[in-house]
């Protein structure tokens, strides 16, 4: 940018591609000017710890959105996985922390698998199937504890969401690890190529010998698994199983994916866009909290950002 010979259309192209990053930088500068405490190592790490849960959901959502689908059930999956792992992680059960972790992952994977089978093999539209699952998983979560909180979790388990390695919070480390794995899967493996191809043109993919039902089913399994992981981290961070946990989280996850420039109609997307997308959401949450903006206003502002980001994207598309 800023080269003297760059013409107007180059700037437009640049904005279409990297506008989100620019947006993130502008938002960060704004908060830095408003609150001196904002751009400090402590606060940034705190922000990342908060953002890591949405980050995991957004990464899973990216796979789903790339195939042209949507997963509305991730918030409820966070709740269900978090609740069941809390039941296992109670000190009185005497179970080691990793059994609780595996329980949460299994619940998430189970929810994702049901979604995937219903969508890919029973041909229910993704919006409906996952909307139904949103309700089912939440209901099961309430049943698990009779809507009561489950406190008294083992110390080791609480490290997953609350601990740090050096100064880096464990959830942030987990997020970075998952991000690297997602990158390798999407861009370095056959399977990743199949995800892009299925979302771009399912018929062409099928003619090319790709098992598109399997691909579609699998992206919901990935989304469910990551929601399960997010549920475990959330339960650990808030130190008890709470049945309302994760309520509405699907909004932030979908928002992060679309702000990052992933097309909801599938086939067109990029992983780093999602990363910028959930960083935007995280910075907004953190910065607005610091400025003591009321949570009601925060919802309004978040909504405007989602619509605005997609609007800019489609204005660019139609040019």
């Amino acid at each position: 940018m800023g080269k003297s010979r760059s013409k107007q259309f180059n700037i437009k192209e640049f904005l279409a591609k990297y506008g989100v990053i620019l947006g993130l930088v502008v938002i960060m500068i704004f908060f830095t000017v408003m609150k001196a405490r904002f751009l400090t190592v402590t606060n940034m790490l705190n922000m990342l710890r908060q953002a890591s849960i949405n980050g995991l959901l957004a990464l899973g959502m990216t796979f789903v959105v790339l195939t042209g689908g949507i997963d509305l059930s991730v918030g409820s999956a966070v709740g269900a996985a978090g609740m069941y792992c809390a039941l296992v992680a109670r000190t009185e059960t005497g179970m080691p922390w990793y059994v609780a972790l595996l329980t949460g992952l299994a619940i998430g994977l189970l929810i994702g698998t049901v979604n995937g089978v219903v969508i890919a093999y029973l041909r229910v539209p993704a919006f409906i199937a996952t909307l139904g699952m949103l309700s089912i998983a939440r209901g099961i979560t309430f049943m698990a504890s009779d809507a009561k909180p489950i406190p008294g979790l083992s110390k080791e388990f609480l490290v997953i969401g609350g601990g740090s390695a050096g100064i880096i919070p464990i959830p942030v480390l987990i997020l970075i690890g998952v991000l690297i794995v997602c990158y390798i899967i999407l861009y370095k493996t056959r399977y990743g190529r199949y995800v892009f191809a299925t979302g771009g043109n399912a018929t062409s993919a099928r003619v090319s010998g790709i098992n598109i039902k399997m691909v579609i089913c699998s992206v919901y399994m990935i989304s469910g698994l990551l929601a399960g992981l997010a549920g475990v981290i959330l339960t650990s961070r808030v130190t008890s199983g709470i049945s309302q946990n994760g309520d509405g989280y699907e909004v932030d996850a979908i928002a992060a994916a679309v702000i990052g420039g992933n097309s909801l109609s599938g086939g067109r997307g990029r992983l780093w866009g999602t990363v910028v997308g959930f960083l935007v959401m995280g910075v907004m949450n953190n910065g607005l909290d610091m400025m003591a903006v009321s949570s009601y206003w925060q919802l309004v502002i978040k909504g405007i950002i989602i619509i605005g980001a997609v609007m800019l994207d489609s204005l660019n598309e139609s040019r």
């Binding site: 043109n201 003619v207 790709i210 098992n211």
Partner: protein
């Protein structure tokens, strides 16, 4: 009188000049064919006329008055109507509602339906077209939808009507009907600009022919002063000694035997064999069941009955994967809908069906992939800037080559080509024919479906003619005569 004069039209997109001073004159009461390979600038020139693009230089004169066309609406007001290649009606609305969309008769709030239907009926009657104004457009055949668009143009009092490949998706009988309507319009003094790749049609219907090449104006002729060969030579800028480079290839043993293929009312009891080294043509009218038969053979669709013996084995093909594994490849009819992933790069499209061969375990071997892609692009002479370019930015002919190379790199023993040259220009066609011959010469078999009779006759060694889902007959190359093929094609209708 000249209805339209375009002089010295120039147009650039960004820095790329696509029209270099093009002239075009449309006389009253004539059909003027606009010819040229894909990318020659025909569409851009027409879009300037339709107000979609503004030209950078040059003058446009409509009915002896110089105009500066500002917008599609302005173009419409000047009496110019464009019938697009891909029609855009509202399928759930009736014929009359579509024709009067946006200018419904009646008051400010309510539509005067009685008047709208009466006007539409008159309009269609004048065209001698039998379509009910109350029919939903989505329920009409493509040919009839096209007639509705033409009726709409007439109702707009258009005097200059642009038709962009109007016959690409309709049957021969419907073409005759369309031509009689065009002649009717001529008599009423309207001018038609006709874009098509089909040579025989051009000579049947047009009075004048203008050829563009690489954005340059080549020349304008009276149709009677020019023939096929001169026309093609001017379009491609070089002599095409042979459009069909058919070479003699030794034909050996049978590789494919299809027995008693049947699917409901789509096709019944079809059997045929294909030999190694052979190009086997499948001809027939639109709706004869050719594509459906191939879909069933490739596992894209089910069948009620039928056996496949391939390379000495009886196969149970349930999905494309099964067919591909055995060495069968299918280049589908509609490259955009069923062949390519438009949002992916050229390279990724070429390698898509060969991911397994290009992977170590789960991981793609990127070095091997890019070197294979590079070789293919050179071998098939695909014209592009970079293999990383999105495939949707290529011209139709080059896109078709991408689909072809996707399959050729898998070295299938049987290559099924469904309308392999639809909508691509003469130069690219001839290159694809050459590739077909080379591929068959290696001892592979090719099945070729085509609606263009000269193409099947020029390329095939034997031909199966389907008629209404049944076998109309089978011919050897020495027996190929247009009349007998037609007779077989209608034998079960």
């Amino acid at each position: 009188m000249n209805l339209l004069e375009m002089k010295g039209i120039e147009k650039s997109f960004n820095t790329v000049k696509v029209l270099h001073g093009v002239d075009f004159i449309l006389r009253k009461g004539t059909v003027h064919a606009l010819m040229g390979e894909n990318g020659a600038g025909k569409s851009t020139l027409m879009k300037v006329l339709a107000g979609i693009h503004k030209c950078d230089a040059g003058t446009v004169t409509v009915k002896e008055e110089q105009v500066d066309i500002q917008s599609p609406k302005h173009s419409q007001a000047l009496g110019i109507a464009m019938i697009h290649q891909e029609l855009s009606p509202v399928p759930e609305m009736t014929v009359a509602e579509n024709i009067y969309l946006g200018r419904e008769p009646g008051g400010r709030l309510f539509i005067d339906y009685a008047q709208m239907y009466r006007q539409t009926e008159e309009l269609l009657e004048n065209m001698k077209v039998h379509i009910s104004p109350k029919e939903k457009v989505g329920a009409l055949k493509v040919a009839d939808q096209q007639l509705v668009e033409i009726a709409k143009a007439i109702s707009l009092n258009a005097e200059i009507i642009i038709m962009d490949e109007p016959t690409s998706a309709i049957t021969d009988k419907e073409v005759d009907n369309l031509f009689s309507i065009i002649r009717n319009l001529k008599e009423q003094g309207k001018g038609i600009i006709y874009i098509s790749h089909k040579m025989d049609e051009i000579f049947q219907i047009s009075d004048d022919i203008t050829v563009l090449r690489d954005g340059q104006y080549v020349n304008t002729w009276k149709a009677e002063d020019i023939d096929n060969n001169i026309l093609i030579k001017n379009m491609v800028g070089r002599e095409l000694t042979e459009i069909f480079p058919k070479s003699e290839v030794p034909i050996s043993d049978t590789i494919l035997e299809v027995r008693n293929f049947t699917l409901g009312d789509k096709f019944q009891d079809i059997s045929f064999t294909v030999k190694r080294g052979e190009i086997y043509g499948i001809a027939g009218l639109v709706g004869a069941g050719r594509t459906e038969l191939m879909h069933a053979l490739f596992g894209l669709d089910r069948r009620d009955k039928g056996e496949v013996i391939f390379d000495g084995k009886t196969l149970d093909i349930r999905r494309p994967k099964d067919a591909i594994r055995e060495g069968i490849a299918y280049v589908t009819e509609d490259r955009k809908q069923e062949g390519l992933v438009l949002e992916m790069s050229v390279g990724q499209n070429i390698s898509l069906a060969s991911m397994k061969e290009l992977s170590r375990g789960l991981f793609i071997n990127e070095k091997e992939e890019s070197s294979l892609v590079k070789d293919e692009i050179e071998r098939l002479r695909i014209r592009l800037h970079s293999p990383k370019q999105l495939v949707k930015s290529l011209s139709g002919g080059n896109q078709q080559k991408v689909v072809l190379s996707k399959w050729i790199i898998k070295n299938p023993k049987l290559l099924i080509l469904d309308e392999p040259t639809r909508g691509i220009d003469v130069g690219a066609k001839s290159e694809i024919y050459k590739l077909m011959c080379e591929y068959a010469a290696k001892g592979n078999a090719i099945i070729m479906i085509s609606s263009e009779m000269p193409e099947v006759m020029g390329m095939a060694d034997r031909m199966l003619v389907l008629s209404n889902g049944k076998v109309g007959g089978e011919l050897k190359r020495s027996e190929f005569v247009q009349e007998s093929i037609m007779k077989m094609a209608v034998s079960h209708i």
